[in-house]
Amino acid sequence: MPDVLTDLYDLRELFDRQQIMVCFNGPINAALIEEIGRALRDYLNHQQEAPRAVADIFAVYIEMTQNIRHYARQHADLDGSGSAAIVVSRDDGHYVISAGNVIASADGAALLARVEELARLDAAELKAAFKTQLRKPRENLEGSAGLGLIDIARKASAPLSAALRQIDAGRSFFSLRVVL
């Protein structure tokens, strides 16, 4: 089998098959997130997507990546928490944004439960949840990705889905998939 980095054919096939438009894996910072976001927005505008669709895709991308950055800042000593895998693809006429990052295993169950809880809410319930979260005192919000996650769920066209995989005793990899 040829070295995957000498012969990029297989990698390209995978990207083509999954209709991946943007794929990033590595350490992220604010400037990088914004550059990729602007490139994504320019690309979508160029594709003549409806302004509402472009706005939603951009917003979800920003909230997902800024959630990862916030988590990384609060867990600076967690190995690998400053990196993210971000994939923007198309599936059956929809845009899909997936993002994954290393989290403390102790946070995994609660995060999955939160995603599942939001996935069950309808539009009116999500709006109410957003307003409730918006009104929570700021000192109670430390470490919560609450508002961002609700906003993402509101803009998604299908219920959010998430996966959790154990890396080692203390760390897990959390993936979130959002269909627009």
């Binding site: 604010a30 914004e34 602007r38 302004p51 509402r52 706005a55 939603d56 951009f58 917003a59 920003i62 909230e63 800024q66 950055r69 916030h70 709006k127 307003k131 918006l134 700021r138 508002l147 961002g148 906003d151």
Partner: protein, 125 residues
């Protein structure tokens, strides 16, 4: 109290304030990671204006995309205006937007639901 004249950047809006007329303008996108650093000078200016002025305060907005942290910061501003309005001050918001992107109108509408002062949402044709 000094007026603010902040130029627009890719992730923060242009902001101007005018002590003489009470007009505050904001235009552009707002999605910095930590909006509180950006918004605090404006919130301080608005607090100062509401506390010492008897003249009206008018927010003239052409905001497009706000991340959720910026939404929280704008809510803080509207809450202060609501409080001043209930205490008898003249405050108002005029938010104009490109009707091609109805998400902006929806966002403005959700803010307006919690305000009893004049809050005009204006599609720009």
């Amino acid at each position: 109290m000094n007026d603010l004249h902040l130029p627009q950047t890719p992730n923060t809006p242009a902001v101007t304030t005018d002590l003489a007329t009470g007009v505050v303008t904001m235009a552009g996108d707002s999605y910095p990671e930590n909006p509180f650093e950006f918004f605090q000078p404006l919130i301080d200016w608005i607090d100062g204006f509401l506390h010492r002025q008897s003249g009206p305060l008018s927010l003239v907005l052409d905001l497009v995309y706000l991340n959720t942290s910026s939404i929280r910061a704008m809510m803080d501003i509207f809450d202060r205006m609501e409080e001043a309005h209930r205490a008898g001050a003249k405050v108002s918001v005029r938010w104009s937007y490109d009707p091609e992107n109805e998400r902006v109108g929806e966002l403005a509408e959700e803010f307006r639901e919690d305000c009893t002062f004049p809050f005009l949402i204006e599609p720009r044709f």
